[in-house]
Amino acid sequence: MSLSKERCAELDELCRVFRIDVLKAVHSIQSGHPGGSLSVCEILTLLYQEEMNISADDPENPDRDRLVLCKGHAAPMLYRNLIEKGFLPKDSMATLRRINSQLQGHPSNHTPGVEMPSGPLGIGLSAAQGMAMGLKLNGSPARVYAILGDGELDEGAVWEAAASAPKFALSNLTAIVDYNKVQLDGTTDEVMPLRDLEGKWKAFGWNVIRCNGHDISALHDALENAKKVADKPTVIIADTIKGKGVSFMEGKAAWHGKAIPDAELAQAIEELGGDK
Protein backbone atom coordinates (compact mmCIF):
# COMPACT_ATOMS: atom_id res chain seq x y z
CA MET A 1 0.00 0.00 0.00
CA SER A 2 1.18 3.48 -0.80
CA LEU A 3 1.68 6.05 1.92
CA SER A 4 -1.08 8.64 2.30
CA LYS A 5 -0.40 12.18 1.17
CA GLU A 6 -0.88 13.34 4.74
CA ARG A 7 1.73 10.93 6.07
CA CYS A 8 4.15 11.89 3.32
CA ALA A 9 3.69 15.55 4.26
CA GLU A 10 4.34 14.75 7.93
CA LEU A 11 7.55 12.93 7.04
CA ASP A 12 8.62 15.76 4.74
CA GLU A 13 8.18 18.17 7.65
CA LEU A 14 10.25 15.90 9.89
CA CYS A 15 12.97 15.89 7.22
CA ARG A 16 12.93 19.68 7.12
CA VAL A 17 13.39 19.89 10.89
CA PHE A 18 16.02 17.12 10.92
CA ARG A 19 18.06 18.93 8.27
CA ILE A 20 18.14 22.09 10.36
CA ASP A 21 19.00 20.21 13.55
CA VAL A 22 21.82 18.33 11.83
CA LEU A 23 23.30 21.51 10.35
CA LYS A 24 23.14 23.20 13.75
CA ALA A 25 24.95 20.30 15.41
CA VAL A 26 27.64 20.14 12.73
CA HIS A 27 28.00 23.93 12.93
CA SER A 28 28.24 23.86 16.72
CA ILE A 29 31.25 21.53 16.81
CA GLN A 30 32.68 22.97 13.57
CA SER A 31 33.30 19.42 12.34
CA GLY A 32 31.31 16.75 10.52
CA HIS A 33 29.73 15.86 7.20
CA PRO A 34 26.80 18.05 6.16
CA GLY A 35 26.54 17.05 2.47
CA GLY A 36 25.94 13.33 2.86
CA SER A 37 23.70 13.80 5.89
CA LEU A 38 21.36 15.99 3.83
CA SER A 39 21.28 13.62 0.85
CA VAL A 40 20.35 10.58 2.95
CA CYS A 41 17.72 12.45 5.00
CA GLU A 42 14.54 11.08 3.39
CA ILE A 43 15.96 7.55 3.21
CA LEU A 44 16.77 7.40 6.92
CA THR A 45 13.70 9.30 8.04
CA LEU A 46 11.28 7.08 6.12
CA LEU A 47 12.96 3.93 7.44
CA TYR A 48 13.18 5.02 11.08
CA GLN A 49 9.97 6.98 11.45
CA GLU A 50 7.69 4.85 9.31
CA GLU A 51 9.00 1.54 8.03
CA MET A 52 11.12 -0.24 10.56
CA ASN A 53 9.70 -2.34 13.35
CA ILE A 54 11.81 -0.99 16.21
CA SER A 55 11.07 0.40 19.65
CA ALA A 56 13.22 2.13 22.22
CA ASP A 57 11.12 0.35 24.88
CA ASP A 58 12.15 -3.05 23.52
CA PRO A 59 15.56 -2.45 21.92
CA GLU A 60 16.72 -6.08 22.12
CA ASN A 61 13.61 -7.63 20.56
CA PRO A 62 15.04 -10.44 18.41
CA ASP A 63 12.52 -9.73 15.68
CA ARG A 64 13.29 -6.04 15.37
CA ASP A 65 14.28 -4.71 11.96
CA ARG A 66 17.93 -3.69 11.60
CA LEU A 67 19.70 -0.87 9.81
CA VAL A 68 23.41 -0.55 9.07
CA LEU A 69 24.50 2.95 8.10
CA CYS A 70 27.40 1.76 5.94
CA LYS A 71 28.16 5.39 5.04
CA GLY A 72 28.84 6.12 8.69
CA HIS A 73 29.82 9.73 8.08
CA ALA A 74 26.11 10.56 7.84
CA ALA A 75 25.90 9.75 11.55
CA PRO A 76 24.28 13.09 12.55
CA MET A 77 21.17 12.26 10.50
CA LEU A 78 21.11 8.79 12.07
CA TYR A 79 21.31 10.29 15.57
CA ARG A 80 18.55 12.80 14.89
CA ASN A 81 16.32 9.92 13.81
CA LEU A 82 17.22 7.88 16.90
CA ILE A 83 16.35 10.86 19.10
CA GLU A 84 12.96 11.08 17.43
CA LYS A 85 12.40 7.37 18.13
CA GLY A 86 13.32 7.84 21.79
CA PHE A 87 16.62 5.95 21.78
CA LEU A 88 18.62 9.05 22.74
CA PRO A 89 17.86 12.09 24.90
CA LYS A 90 16.40 15.08 23.05
CA ASP A 91 19.29 17.37 23.94
CA SER A 92 22.01 14.94 22.87
CA MET A 93 22.55 16.50 19.40
CA ALA A 94 24.49 19.27 21.14
CA THR A 95 27.04 16.69 22.32
CA LEU A 96 27.86 15.47 18.79
CA ARG A 97 31.59 14.71 18.44
CA ARG A 98 32.33 16.15 21.89
CA ILE A 99 34.31 14.34 24.56
CA ASN A 100 32.37 11.78 26.64
CA SER A 101 29.45 11.94 24.21
CA GLN A 102 27.30 8.98 23.13
CA LEU A 103 27.29 10.61 19.69
CA GLN A 104 30.61 9.60 18.17
CA GLY A 105 31.83 11.09 14.91
CA HIS A 106 30.98 7.79 13.27
CA PRO A 107 28.42 5.31 14.63
CA SER A 108 29.31 2.94 17.46
CA ASN A 109 27.03 0.13 18.62
CA HIS A 110 27.59 1.33 22.17
CA THR A 111 25.13 4.10 21.26
CA PRO A 112 21.52 3.01 21.92
CA GLY A 113 19.74 2.14 18.68
CA VAL A 114 22.92 1.68 16.64
CA GLU A 115 23.20 -1.95 15.53
CA MET A 116 26.70 -1.99 14.02
CA PRO A 117 29.74 0.27 14.17
CA SER A 118 30.53 1.92 10.85
CA GLY A 119 32.89 4.46 9.40
CA PRO A 120 35.44 2.53 7.36
CA LEU A 121 33.65 2.15 4.04
CA GLY A 122 33.02 -1.11 2.23
CA ILE A 123 32.22 -3.50 5.08
CA GLY A 124 28.73 -2.41 6.15
CA LEU A 125 26.86 -4.37 3.49
CA SER A 126 28.64 -7.55 4.57
CA ALA A 127 27.62 -6.98 8.18
CA ALA A 128 24.02 -6.35 7.11
CA GLN A 129 24.22 -9.56 5.13
CA GLY A 130 25.37 -11.41 8.26
CA MET A 131 22.37 -10.04 10.14
CA ALA A 132 20.05 -11.17 7.34
CA MET A 133 21.61 -14.65 7.38
CA GLY A 134 21.29 -14.86 11.15
CA LEU A 135 17.66 -13.73 11.13
CA LYS A 136 16.87 -16.25 8.42
CA LEU A 137 18.46 -19.03 10.50
CA ASN A 138 16.35 -17.87 13.45
CA GLY A 139 13.17 -17.94 11.37
CA SER A 140 12.64 -14.26 12.14
CA PRO A 141 10.44 -12.08 9.91
CA ALA A 142 12.70 -9.07 10.52
CA ARG A 143 14.23 -7.15 7.65
CA VAL A 144 17.69 -5.63 7.32
CA TYR A 145 18.53 -2.34 5.62
CA ALA A 146 22.01 -1.31 4.51
CA ILE A 147 22.53 2.33 3.52
CA LEU A 148 25.52 2.78 1.25
CA GLY A 149 27.15 5.85 -0.20
CA ASP A 150 27.97 5.97 -3.89
CA GLY A 151 31.60 6.86 -3.22
CA GLU A 152 31.63 3.80 -0.98
CA LEU A 153 31.05 1.66 -4.07
CA ASP A 154 34.71 2.30 -4.94
CA GLU A 155 35.53 -0.19 -2.20
CA GLY A 156 36.03 -3.69 -3.59
CA ALA A 157 34.61 -5.29 -0.45
CA VAL A 158 31.15 -3.95 -1.35
CA TRP A 159 31.20 -6.21 -4.39
CA GLU A 160 32.20 -9.22 -2.30
CA ALA A 161 28.92 -8.80 -0.44
CA ALA A 162 27.11 -7.96 -3.67
CA ALA A 163 28.20 -11.40 -4.91
CA SER A 164 27.36 -13.35 -1.77
CA ALA A 165 23.97 -11.94 -0.72
CA PRO A 166 22.21 -13.33 -3.82
CA LYS A 167 24.03 -16.66 -3.34
CA PHE A 168 22.33 -16.95 0.05
CA ALA A 169 18.99 -15.72 -1.41
CA LEU A 170 18.69 -13.00 1.23
CA SER A 171 15.29 -11.61 0.34
CA ASN A 172 15.16 -10.04 3.82
CA LEU A 173 18.04 -7.72 2.90
CA THR A 174 17.52 -4.36 1.20
CA ALA A 175 20.48 -2.20 0.25
CA ILE A 176 19.91 1.46 -0.54
CA VAL A 177 22.52 3.44 -2.42
CA ASP A 178 22.42 7.15 -1.62
CA TYR A 179 23.33 8.05 -5.18
CA ASN A 180 24.24 11.72 -4.86
CA LYS A 181 27.02 11.49 -7.47
CA VAL A 182 29.51 13.44 -5.39
CA GLN A 183 32.27 12.16 -3.12
CA LEU A 184 35.03 13.88 -1.17
CA ASP A 185 37.45 14.88 -3.90
CA GLY A 186 34.89 15.56 -6.61
CA THR A 187 32.09 13.92 -8.56
CA THR A 188 31.92 10.14 -8.75
CA ASP A 189 32.56 10.47 -12.48
CA GLU A 190 35.78 12.33 -11.79
CA VAL A 191 37.03 10.25 -8.88
CA MET A 192 35.98 6.75 -9.98
CA PRO A 193 33.28 6.29 -12.61
CA LEU A 194 30.46 3.98 -11.47
CA ARG A 195 29.29 3.42 -15.06
CA ASP A 196 26.19 1.22 -15.39
CA LEU A 197 25.28 1.02 -11.74
CA GLU A 198 21.92 -0.68 -12.24
CA GLY A 199 23.47 -3.16 -14.66
CA LYS A 200 26.27 -3.99 -12.22
CA TRP A 201 23.89 -4.89 -9.39
CA LYS A 202 21.66 -6.83 -11.79
CA ALA A 203 24.65 -8.80 -13.03
CA PHE A 204 25.44 -9.73 -9.42
CA GLY A 205 21.92 -11.13 -9.05
CA TRP A 206 20.03 -8.40 -7.21
CA ASN A 207 16.51 -7.10 -7.68
CA VAL A 208 17.24 -3.51 -8.73
CA ILE A 209 14.89 -0.57 -8.24
CA ARG A 210 15.71 3.00 -9.13
CA CYS A 211 13.85 5.93 -7.64
CA ASN A 212 14.04 9.52 -6.46
CA GLY A 213 15.69 9.36 -3.04
CA HIS A 214 14.07 12.58 -1.86
CA ASP A 215 10.53 11.44 -2.73
CA ILE A 216 9.10 9.76 0.38
CA SER A 217 6.24 8.19 -1.55
CA ALA A 218 8.51 6.74 -4.26
CA LEU A 219 10.97 5.43 -1.67
CA HIS A 220 8.12 3.84 0.25
CA ASP A 221 6.84 2.10 -2.88
CA ALA A 222 10.35 0.81 -3.60
CA LEU A 223 10.63 -0.65 -0.08
CA GLU A 224 7.23 -2.32 -0.50
CA ASN A 225 8.32 -3.73 -3.83
CA ALA A 226 11.43 -5.21 -2.21
CA LYS A 227 9.28 -7.11 0.30
CA LYS A 228 7.50 -8.91 -2.53
CA VAL A 229 10.67 -10.46 -3.94
CA ALA A 230 11.06 -13.91 -2.39
CA ASP A 231 14.36 -15.23 -3.65
CA LYS A 232 16.90 -12.43 -3.84
CA PRO A 233 18.02 -9.24 -2.12
CA THR A 234 16.95 -5.85 -3.41
CA VAL A 235 19.04 -2.78 -4.03
CA ILE A 236 17.34 0.58 -4.32
CA ILE A 237 19.45 3.06 -6.24
CA ALA A 238 18.11 6.29 -4.85
CA ASP A 239 18.93 9.35 -6.91
CA THR A 240 19.73 12.10 -4.46
CA ILE A 241 21.41 15.49 -4.30
CA LYS A 242 24.37 16.02 -2.03
CA GLY A 243 23.59 18.87 0.37
CA LYS A 244 19.89 18.68 -0.60
CA GLY A 245 17.83 21.64 0.61
CA VAL A 246 20.63 24.19 0.92
CA SER A 247 21.35 25.96 -2.37
CA PHE A 248 25.02 26.61 -1.85
CA MET A 249 25.70 23.04 -0.68
CA GLU A 250 23.79 21.19 -3.38
CA GLY A 251 26.02 19.05 -5.59
CA LYS A 252 29.19 20.49 -4.07
CA ALA A 253 31.99 18.13 -3.05
CA ALA A 254 33.40 20.92 -0.90
CA TRP A 255 30.53 20.38 1.56
CA HIS A 256 31.25 16.66 2.03
CA GLY A 257 33.04 17.26 5.29
CA LYS A 258 33.36 20.95 5.92
CA ALA A 259 32.62 23.06 8.97
CA ILE A 260 29.77 25.52 8.50
CA PRO A 261 30.50 29.23 9.17
CA ASP A 262 27.91 31.27 11.12
CA ALA A 263 26.56 33.26 8.16
CA GLU A 264 26.13 30.15 6.03
CA LEU A 265 24.26 28.41 8.84
CA ALA A 266 21.81 31.29 9.07
CA GLN A 267 21.24 31.24 5.31
CA ALA A 268 20.81 27.45 5.29
CA ILE A 269 18.21 27.58 8.06
CA GLU A 270 16.33 30.31 6.22
CA GLU A 271 16.33 28.32 2.98
CA LEU A 272 15.03 25.29 4.87
CA GLY A 273 12.02 27.29 5.98
CA GLY A 274 13.36 28.65 9.23
CA ASP A 275 13.62 27.42 12.80
CA LYS A 276 10.00 27.33 13.85
Binding site: P62, S108, I123, A127, G130, M133, L137, E160, S164
Partner: protein, 313 residues
Protein backbone atom coordinates in the same frame (compact mmCIF):
# COMPACT_ATOMS: atom_id res chain seq x y z
CA UNK B 1 50.54 -39.56 20.37
CA UNK B 2 50.59 -36.57 18.09
CA UNK B 3 47.82 -34.87 16.16
CA UNK B 4 47.40 -32.26 13.45
CA UNK B 5 46.19 -29.16 15.23
CA UNK B 6 43.84 -28.07 12.40
CA UNK B 7 42.28 -31.53 12.40
CA UNK B 8 41.62 -31.41 16.15
CA UNK B 9 40.10 -27.94 15.81
CA UNK B 10 37.71 -28.91 12.99
CA UNK B 11 36.64 -32.08 14.79
CA UNK B 12 36.08 -30.36 18.14
CA UNK B 13 34.09 -27.57 16.51
CA UNK B 14 31.77 -30.07 14.83
CA UNK B 15 31.36 -31.94 18.15
CA UNK B 16 30.61 -28.80 20.15
CA UNK B 17 28.00 -27.78 17.60
CA UNK B 18 26.01 -30.94 18.34
CA UNK B 19 25.01 -29.37 21.66
CA UNK B 20 25.41 -25.70 20.89
CA UNK B 21 23.08 -24.74 18.06
CA UNK B 22 24.33 -21.15 18.00
CA UNK B 23 27.68 -22.08 16.47
CA UNK B 24 27.98 -21.15 12.79
CA UNK B 25 31.12 -21.50 10.68
CA UNK B 26 32.38 -19.47 7.75
CA UNK B 27 35.29 -20.18 5.46
CA UNK B 28 36.90 -18.42 2.51
CA UNK B 29 37.28 -21.32 0.08
CA UNK B 30 39.88 -23.11 2.18
CA UNK B 31 37.64 -25.35 4.27
CA UNK B 32 39.45 -28.48 3.08
CA UNK B 33 42.68 -26.99 4.38
CA UNK B 34 41.47 -25.27 7.55
CA UNK B 35 39.37 -28.37 8.36
CA UNK B 36 36.25 -26.31 8.89
CA UNK B 37 34.89 -28.70 6.25
CA UNK B 38 34.52 -31.27 9.04
CA UNK B 39 31.96 -28.92 10.58
CA UNK B 40 30.47 -28.18 7.16
CA UNK B 41 29.83 -31.86 6.52
CA UNK B 42 28.24 -32.40 9.94
CA UNK B 43 26.19 -29.18 9.98
CA UNK B 44 25.72 -27.96 6.41
CA UNK B 45 22.85 -25.62 7.35
CA UNK B 46 25.20 -23.69 9.64
CA UNK B 47 28.22 -23.62 7.34
CA UNK B 48 28.80 -20.77 4.89
CA UNK B 49 31.44 -20.74 2.20
CA UNK B 50 32.03 -17.07 1.52
CA UNK B 51 34.37 -17.53 -1.41
CA UNK B 52 37.80 -15.96 -1.53
CA UNK B 53 36.60 -12.82 0.22
CA UNK B 54 38.07 -12.50 3.71
CA UNK B 55 36.78 -9.01 4.40
CA UNK B 56 33.26 -10.10 3.50
CA UNK B 57 33.63 -13.21 5.64
CA UNK B 58 34.64 -11.39 8.82
CA UNK B 59 32.09 -8.59 8.39
CA UNK B 60 29.34 -11.13 7.71
CA UNK B 61 30.35 -12.89 10.94
CA UNK B 62 30.03 -9.55 12.75
CA UNK B 63 26.44 -9.33 11.55
CA UNK B 64 25.70 -12.96 12.45
CA UNK B 65 27.00 -12.34 15.97
CA UNK B 66 24.39 -9.60 16.52
CA UNK B 67 21.59 -12.11 15.88
CA UNK B 68 22.66 -14.47 18.66
CA UNK B 69 24.96 -16.76 16.69
CA UNK B 70 28.56 -17.66 17.53
CA UNK B 71 30.42 -17.39 14.22
CA UNK B 72 33.84 -18.99 13.71
CA UNK B 73 35.70 -17.54 10.70
CA UNK B 74 38.40 -19.62 9.08
CA UNK B 75 41.15 -19.18 6.56
CA UNK B 76 44.92 -19.15 6.46
CA UNK B 77 46.26 -17.11 9.36
CA UNK B 78 48.02 -14.54 7.19
CA UNK B 79 44.91 -13.74 5.11
CA UNK B 80 42.62 -13.67 8.13
CA UNK B 81 44.79 -11.15 9.97
CA UNK B 82 45.46 -8.90 6.96
CA UNK B 83 42.59 -9.04 4.47
CA UNK B 84 40.11 -9.68 7.27
CA UNK B 85 41.53 -7.03 9.55
CA UNK B 86 39.37 -4.00 8.78
CA UNK B 87 36.18 -5.65 9.99
CA UNK B 88 38.04 -7.34 12.84
CA UNK B 89 39.05 -3.93 14.12
CA UNK B 90 36.17 -1.66 13.16
CA UNK B 91 33.22 -3.97 13.75
CA UNK B 92 34.13 -7.04 15.79
CA UNK B 93 36.54 -5.55 18.32
CA UNK B 94 35.15 -2.01 18.46
CA UNK B 95 31.68 -3.49 18.81
CA UNK B 96 32.92 -6.29 21.12
CA UNK B 97 31.01 -8.78 19.00
CA UNK B 98 31.04 -12.51 19.63
CA UNK B 99 33.16 -13.60 16.65
CA UNK B 100 35.85 -16.31 16.84
CA UNK B 101 38.88 -16.37 14.57
CA UNK B 102 40.54 -19.60 13.48
CA UNK B 103 43.91 -18.77 11.95
CA UNK B 104 44.69 -22.10 10.35
CA UNK B 105 48.26 -22.00 9.06
CA UNK B 106 50.32 -20.08 11.60
CA UNK B 107 54.01 -19.34 11.39
CA UNK B 108 55.74 -21.15 8.55
CA UNK B 109 53.52 -24.24 8.79
CA UNK B 110 52.38 -23.77 5.18
CA UNK B 111 56.04 -24.25 4.45
CA UNK B 112 56.35 -24.83 0.71
CA UNK B 113 53.96 -22.01 -0.23
CA UNK B 114 56.53 -19.50 0.95
CA UNK B 115 56.51 -16.14 2.67
CA UNK B 116 53.22 -14.99 1.11
CA UNK B 117 51.47 -17.81 2.97
CA UNK B 118 53.43 -17.63 6.22
CA UNK B 119 52.01 -15.75 9.20
CA UNK B 120 54.73 -14.12 11.23
CA UNK B 121 53.05 -10.97 12.49
CA UNK B 122 49.53 -12.16 13.41
CA UNK B 123 50.04 -12.24 17.19
CA UNK B 124 51.26 -8.64 17.10
CA UNK B 125 48.26 -7.59 15.01
CA UNK B 126 45.62 -9.42 17.00
CA UNK B 127 46.87 -8.64 20.49
CA UNK B 128 46.93 -4.91 19.71
CA UNK B 129 43.14 -4.92 19.28
CA UNK B 130 41.08 -4.02 22.38
CA UNK B 131 38.60 -6.73 23.47
CA UNK B 132 40.51 -9.47 21.61
CA UNK B 133 41.66 -12.61 23.44
CA UNK B 134 44.67 -14.37 21.87
CA UNK B 135 45.24 -18.09 22.44
CA UNK B 136 48.03 -20.26 21.00
CA UNK B 137 47.37 -23.97 21.61
CA UNK B 138 50.39 -26.27 21.75
CA UNK B 139 48.82 -29.71 21.41
CA UNK B 140 45.54 -31.58 20.96
CA UNK B 141 44.32 -31.13 24.54
CA UNK B 142 45.02 -27.39 24.59
CA UNK B 143 43.43 -27.00 21.16
CA UNK B 144 40.34 -28.80 22.44
CA UNK B 145 40.23 -26.50 25.45
CA UNK B 146 40.86 -23.30 23.45
CA UNK B 147 38.10 -24.13 20.96
CA UNK B 148 35.63 -24.82 23.74
CA UNK B 149 36.71 -21.71 25.60
CA UNK B 150 36.13 -19.62 22.47
CA UNK B 151 32.55 -20.87 22.35
CA UNK B 152 31.88 -20.01 26.00
CA UNK B 153 33.69 -16.66 26.15
CA UNK B 154 31.63 -13.59 25.24
CA UNK B 155 33.58 -11.46 22.77
CA UNK B 156 36.24 -11.90 20.11
CA UNK B 157 38.75 -14.74 20.47
CA UNK B 158 41.68 -15.47 18.18
CA UNK B 159 42.94 -19.05 17.93
CA UNK B 160 46.40 -19.34 16.41
CA UNK B 161 46.34 -22.80 14.82
CA UNK B 162 48.93 -24.80 12.98
CA UNK B 163 48.82 -26.92 9.87
CA UNK B 164 51.43 -29.08 11.58
CA UNK B 165 51.27 -32.18 13.75
CA UNK B 166 52.20 -31.48 17.37
CA UNK B 167 53.07 -34.20 19.92
CA UNK B 168 50.74 -34.49 22.89
CA UNK B 169 51.88 -32.41 25.81
CA UNK B 170 48.93 -32.62 28.16
CA UNK B 171 46.54 -35.41 29.05
CA UNK B 172 42.88 -34.92 28.24
CA UNK B 173 42.00 -34.09 31.87
CA UNK B 174 44.36 -31.13 32.13
CA UNK B 175 42.64 -27.93 33.18
CA UNK B 176 43.60 -24.76 31.32
CA UNK B 177 42.71 -21.18 32.13
CA UNK B 178 42.57 -18.06 30.01
CA UNK B 179 45.19 -15.64 31.36
CA UNK B 180 47.40 -18.41 32.70
CA UNK B 181 50.54 -20.16 31.47
CA UNK B 182 51.74 -23.62 32.41
CA UNK B 183 55.16 -24.69 33.65
CA UNK B 184 55.67 -27.80 31.53
CA UNK B 185 59.20 -28.47 32.75
CA UNK B 186 60.77 -27.06 35.88
CA UNK B 187 64.25 -25.58 36.06
CA UNK B 188 66.25 -22.98 37.95
CA UNK B 189 68.91 -21.38 35.70
CA UNK B 190 66.76 -19.84 32.97
CA UNK B 191 63.13 -19.82 31.83
CA UNK B 192 62.05 -20.31 28.24
CA UNK B 193 58.60 -18.80 27.73
CA UNK B 194 57.20 -20.26 24.53
CA UNK B 195 53.97 -20.78 22.66
CA UNK B 196 52.70 -23.23 20.04
CA UNK B 197 55.31 -25.33 18.28
CA UNK B 198 58.14 -23.67 20.17
CA UNK B 199 56.97 -25.19 23.46
CA UNK B 200 58.02 -28.55 22.04
CA UNK B 201 61.27 -27.12 20.70
CA UNK B 202 61.96 -25.55 24.09
CA UNK B 203 61.50 -28.90 25.83
CA UNK B 204 63.98 -30.45 23.39
CA UNK B 205 66.36 -27.58 24.04
CA UNK B 206 65.96 -28.04 27.80
CA UNK B 207 67.03 -31.68 27.43
CA UNK B 208 70.08 -30.67 25.39
CA UNK B 209 70.99 -28.09 28.03
CA UNK B 210 70.43 -30.57 30.89
CA UNK B 211 73.19 -32.69 29.41
CA UNK B 212 75.39 -29.61 29.70
CA UNK B 213 74.41 -29.12 33.32
CA UNK B 214 71.99 -26.24 32.80
CA UNK B 215 68.56 -26.41 34.41
CA UNK B 216 65.93 -24.92 32.08
CA UNK B 217 62.36 -24.12 33.03
CA UNK B 218 59.85 -24.18 30.17
CA UNK B 219 56.58 -22.26 30.27
CA UNK B 220 53.77 -22.84 27.76
CA UNK B 221 52.21 -19.39 27.45
CA UNK B 222 49.12 -20.62 25.60
CA UNK B 223 47.21 -17.52 26.67
CA UNK B 224 49.10 -14.62 25.08
CA UNK B 225 46.37 -12.10 25.81
CA UNK B 226 45.51 -11.83 28.61
CA UNK B 227 48.97 -12.94 29.73
CA UNK B 228 50.06 -14.49 33.01
CA UNK B 229 51.95 -11.56 34.58
CA UNK B 230 52.38 -13.30 37.88
CA UNK B 231 54.06 -16.32 36.34
CA UNK B 232 56.39 -14.20 34.17
CA UNK B 233 57.55 -12.14 37.15
CA UNK B 234 57.96 -15.27 39.28
CA UNK B 235 60.12 -16.90 36.59
CA UNK B 236 62.24 -13.76 36.24
CA UNK B 237 62.80 -13.63 40.00
CA UNK B 238 63.49 -17.35 40.41
CA UNK B 239 65.65 -18.03 37.34
CA UNK B 240 67.14 -14.59 36.62
CA UNK B 241 67.04 -14.94 32.83
CA UNK B 242 64.30 -15.25 30.21
CA UNK B 243 64.21 -16.56 26.66
CA UNK B 244 61.02 -16.10 24.66
CA UNK B 245 60.40 -18.51 21.80
CA UNK B 246 57.75 -18.28 19.10
CA UNK B 247 57.16 -18.97 15.42
CA UNK B 248 56.58 -15.27 14.79
CA UNK B 249 58.53 -12.10 14.26
CA UNK B 250 60.55 -11.22 17.35
CA UNK B 251 58.73 -7.90 17.39
CA UNK B 252 55.27 -7.50 18.82
CA UNK B 253 54.43 -11.13 19.53
CA UNK B 254 54.99 -13.25 22.62
CA UNK B 255 58.44 -11.73 23.10
CA UNK B 256 56.95 -8.25 23.09
CA UNK B 257 54.18 -9.25 25.46
CA UNK B 258 56.59 -10.85 27.94
CA UNK B 259 58.92 -7.83 27.77
CA UNK B 260 56.06 -5.46 28.51
CA UNK B 261 55.35 -7.41 31.70
CA UNK B 262 59.03 -7.50 32.72
CA UNK B 263 59.40 -3.76 32.22
CA UNK B 264 56.11 -2.99 33.93
CA UNK B 265 57.07 -5.15 36.88
CA UNK B 266 60.50 -3.54 37.20
CA UNK B 267 61.79 -7.07 36.81
CA UNK B 268 64.26 -6.54 34.01
CA UNK B 269 66.48 -9.58 33.66
CA UNK B 270 68.60 -10.53 30.64
CA UNK B 271 66.17 -11.60 27.92
CA UNK B 272 66.70 -13.16 24.49
CA UNK B 273 64.16 -13.48 21.73
CA UNK B 274 63.91 -16.65 19.65
CA UNK B 275 61.74 -16.07 16.60
CA UNK B 276 61.82 -14.83 13.03
CA UNK B 277 64.45 -12.08 13.11
CA UNK B 278 62.37 -9.32 11.48
CA UNK B 279 62.73 -10.77 8.00
CA UNK B 280 60.52 -12.36 5.37
CA UNK B 281 60.75 -16.12 5.06
CA UNK B 282 60.83 -18.47 2.04
CA UNK B 283 59.67 -21.79 0.57
CA UNK B 284 61.07 -25.11 1.70
CA UNK B 285 60.55 -28.22 3.81
CA UNK B 286 59.13 -27.15 7.18
CA UNK B 287 61.96 -28.62 9.27
CA UNK B 288 64.60 -26.95 7.13
CA UNK B 289 62.79 -23.62 7.35
CA UNK B 290 62.55 -23.86 11.13
CA UNK B 291 66.30 -24.55 11.26
CA UNK B 292 67.25 -21.79 8.83
CA UNK B 293 65.19 -19.16 10.63
CA UNK B 294 66.35 -20.28 14.06
CA UNK B 295 63.02 -21.43 15.43
CA UNK B 296 63.88 -25.00 16.32
CA UNK B 297 65.55 -26.64 19.34
CA UNK B 298 68.99 -25.45 18.24
CA UNK B 299 67.65 -21.90 17.96
CA UNK B 300 66.31 -22.10 21.50
CA UNK B 301 69.63 -23.56 22.72
CA UNK B 302 71.44 -20.62 21.11
CA UNK B 303 69.08 -18.21 22.85
CA UNK B 304 69.64 -19.91 26.20
CA UNK B 305 73.41 -19.83 25.81
CA UNK B 306 73.38 -16.14 24.90
CA UNK B 307 71.19 -15.18 27.81
CA UNK B 308 73.30 -17.20 30.28
CA UNK B 309 76.43 -15.30 29.25
CA UNK B 310 74.64 -12.04 29.96
CA UNK B 311 73.19 -13.38 33.21
CA UNK B 312 76.69 -14.12 34.57
CA UNK B 313 78.04 -10.60 33.90
Amino acid sequence: MSKAIREVYGTVLAELAEKNKDIVVLDADLSGSTKSAIFGKAHPERFFNMGIAESNMVATAAGLATTGHIPFVNTFTVFLTTLGLISTRAQVCYGNLNVKFGGAYCGMSDAFDGSSHHATEDIAVMRSLPNMTVLVPSDAASTRWATGFAVEKQGPVYLRLSRDVYPDLYDENTSFECGKGAVVRDGSDVTVIACGLLVHKAIEAAEIMAAKGVSVRVVDMYSVKPIDKELILKCAAETGAIVTAEEHNIYGGLGGAVSEVLAWGGAGVPTEYVGIQDTFTESGPYKELLAKYGVDANGVVAGIEKVLVRKKK
